[in-house]
Point group: D4
C-alpha cells in the first residue's frame, strides 16, 4: 500500500492536508449515481471489466459501458438480452455476442494468456450447455485455454470414461449438471485437480429450480469439489481463471 508514500508527501509538504484527506477517500471507484464502477480491478489483475446485465435497464448498461470504454478496458457482459446487444452493437460495432449463453464481449485490448494450464468444462446433458458456455466464454475472455466436453452424464458412465484423456489434461475442471447433479462427484473421483461444480436449473418435478442438483453437489463425497450458485456459469469461469493463473 502507498499509504506510507502519502504520509511522506504530507510530511515533506508535497501534499497539503486537504488533498491528502481527499486521496485517502479516493478509492478507485467511480460513482455514476446508480452504479459504482471499479476500474482498477481490471488493471490490478489484468481482467476485463464485467457487467451483470440482468435487472439493469438498457440505459444503465449503456452508461456503464461508456465509462468502461473510455479506459479502453475489455468488457464482458453476462446475461445480456439480445435486444440490449442490438443497441450496443450500433454504438460499438466490434461488440460480439454469444446467443446461447447471452455473453457480450467488447474487446479493446489483446487478451493476455494468464492461465497456466487448461480449463475443461464438462456437462451432464445437452440442456446444460447455456450455463456451461457462460463459463466457457468467461474463462476464455479472461485469458485461458478452455476445452468443452458436453453431454457425458453419469447415467451412461462410459460416455464420461471415453473422455478421460481430456479430463485428465485439465488444471481446473468446471462440471455443470442439472437433474440429479451427480457429475462433479464422479469427475472429482477421477482427477486430482480442483473441480468447480455448477448446478443448473435444468430438470422438472422435484428438481425445484436446481435445488436438487445444488444439494447433491454440496453433499458430494468426493474431495476437491466446491460449488457456485445455480446457473452461475460466470462465477465458475471467473473462479477457474483465478485458480488457473496462480503460479
Amino acid at each position: 500500500m502507498d499509504l506510507r508514500e502519502l504520509l511522506e508527501e504530507v510530511k515533506n509538504n508535497k501534499l497539503d492536508i486537504d488533498s491528502a484527506l481527499d486521496k485517502l477517500k479516493d478509492f478507485p471507484s467511480e460513482d455514476l449515481g446508480y452504479a459504482n464502477i471499479d476500474h482498477h480491478r481490471q488493471i490490478r489483475n489484468g481482467y476485463p471489466e464485467v457487467i451483470y446485465c440482468e435487472g439493469k435497464s438498457d440505459e444503465h448498461i449503456l452508461g456503464i459501458i461508456d465509462k468502461m470504454n473510455q479506459k479502453k478496458s475489455n468488457i464482458l457482459g453476462t446475461r445480456c438480452r439480445k435486444e440490449t446487444y442490438d443497441k450496443i452493437k450500433e454504438i460499438y460495432p466490434d461488440a460480439e455476442y454469444e446467443e446461447l449463453s447471452k455473453i457480450l464481449k467488447i474487446q479493446n485490448q489483446d487478451i493476455i494468456n494468464l492461465g497456466k494450464g487448461k480449463i475443461v468444462v464438462v456437462t451432464g446433458g445437452t440442456s446444460d450447455i447455456p450455463v456451461a458456455d457462460e463459463a466457457y466464454y468467461t474463462a476464455q475472455f479472461l485469458g485461458n485455454k478452455v476445452e468443452r466436453v458436453y453431454d457425458v452424464g453419469v447415467a451412461g458412465i462410459h460416455r464420461l470414461l471415453n473422455k478421460r484423456d481430456i479430463i485428465n489434461s485439465a488444471r481446473v475442471i468446471i462440471a455443470v449438471a442439472g437433474m440429479e447433479g451427480a457429475l462433479p462427484s464422479v469427475v472429482g473421483g477421477l482427477v486430482d485437480v480442483p473441480v468447480i461444480a455448477v448446478p443448473t436449473s435444468v430438470g422438472y418435478g422435484a428438481n425445484f429450480g436446481g435445488l436438487s442438483a445444488l444439494l447433491t453437489m454440496l453433499n458430494s463425497c468426493a474431495s476437491g469439489i466446491s460449488v457456485v450458485n445455480i446457473d452461475n456459469g460466470f462465477g465458475a469461469g471467473y473462479l477457474a481463471s483465478m485458480i488457473n493463473k496462480l503460479d
Copy 2:
C-alpha cells in the same frame, strides 16, 4: 373372489342371510382394539407377517406377535429395539435378531424360495449398511437369493466398475446411498433391470436428513429407477421381492 360361491350358497339355502351378511363383512383381519392384524396376506402371497415395531410399546408388540404366532406364520419385525428383542427372546427362544439393521425374525415355517432370480444390494458407503442390511434381511426372509456389494460409491467409480459382474447378474437391484445419493443413477445406466433407490439419512450439513439423496434419486436421468422413502430398507426389500417373484 368367492363372492359367487357365497351367493350360490345363499340361493341354495346352504347359508342363511344373516350369516351371509356376516361373512360379507368378514374380511380376513383380526381386531385387537389397538391393532388390526391382516393374517391372510401371508397366506395369499406366501410372505411372513410383518410388524413395524417403531412407536409401538413392548406390550403391543408382544400382543401382536402372540396372535401371529398362533397361526404359525413366519414373523418379520423391523426397527425392533434391542430391549424389545430381549423380552421376545424369553418367550420365543427361536427368535433371531440382526443388531445393525434391527431386524427381528421368528421362523415358524420353512422359507420357500419365491424369487425367480437374484437381488443385489449395493451401497455407496460403509455408513449406509444398516439400511442396506434391512433390505437384505427382508428380501432374504421373503424367500430370495440376495447378494451384497457395499462401499462402492461414485466418487471412486472404479470400485463400482470392479463389481460389474455381480451387478450384471441381478434380476433386481437395490441401490442404497446417502450424502449425494448418485449411486442409483450410475448403476441404472449400467444395467437393464429395475433399480430400487433407497436414500439414507447419512451425511451432514445440507444433507437435511436424507432429503438431498432423495431429491437426487427422484431426479435421476437414468431410466428404470424408482425411489422409496428415506432409510426405508424394508420397503425396498419387500418391493424387490414382489418384482423378483413375478413369472
Copy 3:
C-alpha cells in the same frame, strides 16, 4: 463382454495396439458435439431410442432423430412441443403425435411384445390424464399390453372398488395422482404386484407443484410401492416395462 476376444486378437496380431486402444474407447455412443447418442441400448433390450425433447432446440432434436433414424430404430420422443412435431412430420411423414401427453412416435420397426403380463394405469382424477397417458403410450411403445382406469380417486372409494377386476388382472400397476396423492396406498393394499406411484403437479394451494402428492407416496404405509419424480409418466412407463419383461 468381448474384452477377451479383443485381447486374443491383440495377442494373435490380428489387431494392432493402436486399433485396440481405439476399440477399447469405442463404447457404443455417438458424439454429435452437443449430444452423445447411445444406439446400442435399443439393440440390447429391444427398446426404442428415446429423446427427452424439453429444453432442446428443434435443430438439436432433428439432428438427433436423423442419427437415430439412420439405424432404423423406433423413436420415442417425450415432452415434444406441437410446433416441433409439425417440423418433424414434414421430414418423417409417418411420425405420430399424442397431443395430450406430448408423445412423439416414429415407428421404423414392428413393436415386439416384450411384456409378460398386463400393465394397468390408474389415475385419481381427470386432470392427471396427461401424465398417465405419457406412461400409457411409453409402455405401449415399449411392447406392452396396457389398460387404463381413470378418475378413481380415493375420495369416492367405490369408484376404485368397482374396477377391482381390472386392477387385479395387472402384473404391474402405475398409479398416477395429484392433490393428496393417496391412490397408490389404497391400490397397494388391494394387490400383490408392484405399484409405481407417479405424483402429479395437479392441484392448488399447499400442493406446491406436486410436492404434497410426492411426500404422500413416499410415506405410504402400503408395501410394494415405489415412486418416480413428479409428472414423470415416461419414467413410470419405462420402469413398468422393465419389470413386465422380466421372466
Copy 4:
C-alpha cells in the same frame, strides 16, 4: 351485551363515571402477572377451563389450577408431564391422568352432556393413538359421547370398510393419521358429516415431523374436511365438541 344497562345506570346516577370507566375495562379475565385466566368462557359455554401445560413450569401450572379451582370449574390439562401430575395429585387427590395422551382431569362438577350426537375418532395406525386419545378424552370431558375406531389405515381398505356402521353413526368424525395421512380423504368420501383431520408426526424419512400428512390432508379432494395442526388432538376434540353442540 349489558352496555346499555351500564349506560342507563350512569344516566340514572346509580353508577358514577369512574366506576363506569372501571367496569368498561372489566373484561372477565384475571391477571396473575405471568398469565391471564379467562373464567367466563367456561360459564358462557359450559366447558371446563383448559391449561396447555407444555412449556409452563410446575409452579405456574399449580398457580393457575389454584385460581381455577376456587371457581369450582372443571379443569382439563393437556400435554401434562407425569411428574407435574404427581405434584398436582398431592394437592388435588381427585385429579385423574391419562398417561398415553398426557391428559389431566380435575372434575369439580358433573359433566353435562352438551353433544347432540356421537363423535367418532378413527386412526390410521396404532402409533397415532396418543394423539387420538387426546381428542377422545377432550371431547368426552367437554360433554360428548365419543367412540374410537383405531388402526384402520387406507393401505388395508377393508379394515375401514368393516367399520362403516360405526363411522356412519357419527355426527362429527375426527380422523387421525400420520405417514401418508390419506385416511380423512377416504372417510370423507364415505360420509356426509364434517371430518376434522389431525395429522400426526408419526412416520420417518420424508415425513418431516408430520408435514407430509398435513399436506395430504390440506390437499384432500374429498369435500367436508378441514385440518388442525400436527398432533393437535385437543384442538380436534374441542372443535368437534363445538360442532356437536350446535342445535
Copy 5:
C-alpha cells in the same frame, strides 16, 4: 344399505346370481371414460353436483354438465374460466356466472334451505374477496343464509369489533385472510361457534403463495378453528354448509 334386500331377492330367485354380482358392483357412479360422476351424493344430501373446472378442457366440462343436467340436478362449477362460461351459456341459457369468484351456477331445481342458522364470511382485506366470494356463493347455492363482512383485518382491530353483532349472530364462521392470516385467531377468540379458516395467497415477499397465512392459522392458539387449503373458498363453503345443516 339394501344389501339385505338384494340377498333376499337372490334367495327368493327374484334375482339371478349374475345380475346380483352386477348390482353389487353397481355403485351409483357413472363412467364417462375420462370422469366418474357421482350422481347420488346430490340425492343423498340435497346438494348440487359440483365440477372443479380448473385443469379440465371445455369439452370435458360440457360433457360432464350434459350428464348432470339430464338428472335435472343443480350444478355448481368452481374456478370456471370466463371463456368456458360463454360456451356453457350458449347451451344452457339459464347458467349464471360470478366473475370475481369464477363460480358457475345452473339451477334446475329450487334451492332448499338446509341450513339451520347463518353462515358469516369475514375477510382481512379487499384482495381476499375472490376467495371469500367463492365460499359465499358455494354456501348460498347449498341452501344457506350467508352474510359477508369484508376488510376487517386485525391491523385495525376496531373495524372488526364494530361488526361484532353480525359475527355473534353466526352459527358457523368462515374467516378468509392472506398476508399474516391472523384474522381467524381473533375471531375465534370472540365467538363460541366453529371457525373455518381459509388462507389466501394474497401478499408478497415472504408470503410464499399463502404459506405464511396457512401456518399462522394452523398454529392459532384460539380453540375451535380448523383450516382448509390455501384459496380453497369452495371447501370452506361446503364444510360450513355441512356443519350448518346438522340438527
Copy 6:
C-alpha cells in the same frame, strides 16, 4: 380517549343512550363495502392516507381515492400500475407518479416536516433501486429529509467506506440489498443508529425470491438491526418515519 366526555354527556343528558351506543361503535373508519377506510390515522399522526394498490381493481382504487380526497388528505399509493395512474391522472391532474418505484402521490396539503433528523437509504446494487426508491419516496412524503447512497455493496467494501460521512449523518438508516444481503450487517457495525434492513428479491439461483437475503439479515450479528418483508420498501420508509419523528 374521550370516553369520559361521552359518559359525562350521557350523565348530563346531553346525549341520549341510543346515540351514545351509536357513538361507542363509531370508530373512525368508513365502510365502502369492499374496503374500510381509516381516515383518522392521518389526522392523528399527520401522515397521508395510504393505498396498497396491488391486487385491487382500478374501480376499487378510484373509489377509495375519491373518499380520501373528500377529506383533502394527502394520498400515497404503493405498487400502483402505470395504467391505473393514467386513469387517476385524468381525474386528479395533480397526481404524480414515480415510475421505477410505482409510487403514486396526490398532495392536497403541504407536507409538514415531521422528522427530527435525516433518513439515509443505502443499497447493495443498482437493481435494488426500485425497492429503495419506494422507501425513499414514502419517507419523503411522510415529512422527512431523506438521502440516497446507492450501489455500495459489501463485495467492494471501499465503496461503502467512501460514503461513511453520509452514513454517519443519519438518524435512521434503511439498508436495501438482494443477493447475499450482507449490507445491513456491515452498516450496522459502522453506526450507532437503528438500521432497517430490506431484503430484495434481486438475484438468481439459490436466491429463492429474496429468501436468501432475508435469512442473512435476520441472522445478522450486528446489533440494532431489524428486518421488514422482502421488497417492502414502503414498510421500511414508514417505520423509519415513525422512528424519525420520535422526540
Copy 7:
C-alpha cells in the same frame, strides 16, 4: 474523525510516520486470539459491553470478562448457562443472574438513564416469557425504563385491550409471540410508535421452530413493524434502546 489531527501531527513532526501508520491501524479492538473485543463501542454510546455466551467455552467467557472488567465496563452476558454463571460468581461476587432469561449482569458503573421514554414489552403467552425477559433485562441494563405486559395474546383480544393504557404510554414496543405470532399486527394497529416484533420458537406441530410466527410478523399488514430473529430477545432490547435514546 480525528484523521485530520493525525495528519497535522505528522505534518508538524509531532508524530513520526511509523507511529502514524500504527495509529491508523489502531482501531479500538483488542485481539485475544480467539476473540476481538470492541471496547470503544461502550464508551461511544454509553452502553455496556456484551458477550453472547452460547457456543463459547467457560474459559473463553472468563477470559473475555476479564479484559472487559479491566476497563470497568458494565458487562451484559446473554444465553449464559447457569454453570457458567456459578464460575463467574466465584470471581466476580457482584455478578447477577436472571435464571429464566439466562441474562448475566456485572455492573461496574451506575447505569445512566439514556432512554427518552418508556419501552413496553408485551407477550402473547406465558411461554414467551424467557425471550421477553431477555429483551426486558437488556433494555433495562442499557438505561431504559421498561414495563412488562404478559399473556395478552390475540385469541382473547379483550385481555390486550384492557392494557391499552400501558401500551399507549410506550415510546417503543417490543411484541413477543410464538404460535401464530399475530400479536405485533394487532398492537401495531393500536399505536403510532415503532413495534419490534420477536417471533419465539414456542408452539408445536407446523410451528417449525418459530418459522410460523416469523412469517406472520414479516407479512404483517400493520405499518411500523419490523422483525428480529426468532427468540432474539436481546436484539429487540438493544434496538429498542437505540430508538429510545434518539433525541
Copy 8:
C-alpha cells in the same frame, strides 16, 4: 495410463490373457467387505489417507487404520470421537488428537511441503473455530503453510481491515462463518485469490442449521468464491491444498 504397456506385454507374451483380464480389473482399491480402501490416491498425490469417522463403529475405524498403517501412509481422521481416539492411542501411541476440531493424525512419514504459497483461514466469530480448525489441521497435514485469523466478522469491519496484510499474503483463503455468513463476500472483494467459503451451523433462530449462511455464500456478489457443505472444514482444507499445490 499404462494400458498401452499392458497391451504390449500381452502382445509380447509377457503377460497371459487371464492375468491381463485380472489386471484390468485391478484398480488400486482394497475390499474389506464393509469398506473399499483406496491406497493409491495417497501415492498418486502425496497426500495422507483419510477416514471420515462419523457414523463408523470403532471396530471398523480400527480395521481401516490397520490396513492403512501397513502401507506406512500418513493417516488423517476427521470427526473422530474422543473415545475412539483413546482406543486408537493404545494401539498407535504416536497418534495425535485435536480436541476442538476432532482431528486425528497418525504421522508415519515426513509431511512434504506441497503448497506453493500460504493458506489463510479466517472466521467470523469465536464459535466458528471448531470448523475452521478442521480446515486448518487438514491443510497443514496435507503439506501447507497455514495461518489463522479468527473473529473478524463483518459487523465490526475494522477488525477485518486491521488484518489485511495477512489476508493479502494468502494464495488461497478459507473463509468460515455462521449466522449471516457475509464474511466471504467482504474478503472476496478485498483479494484477487480464490476464496473457499465454509458455512457453519453456528447461530440460532432462522439460521436453520447453517442454511442461512450457506445461501448467503452461494448468492455472494463477489467473484472468485465457491462454497463447500455446511461445517465441512475438511473439504475446504482439502480443496485449498489442491489449489495451493498447482504449479
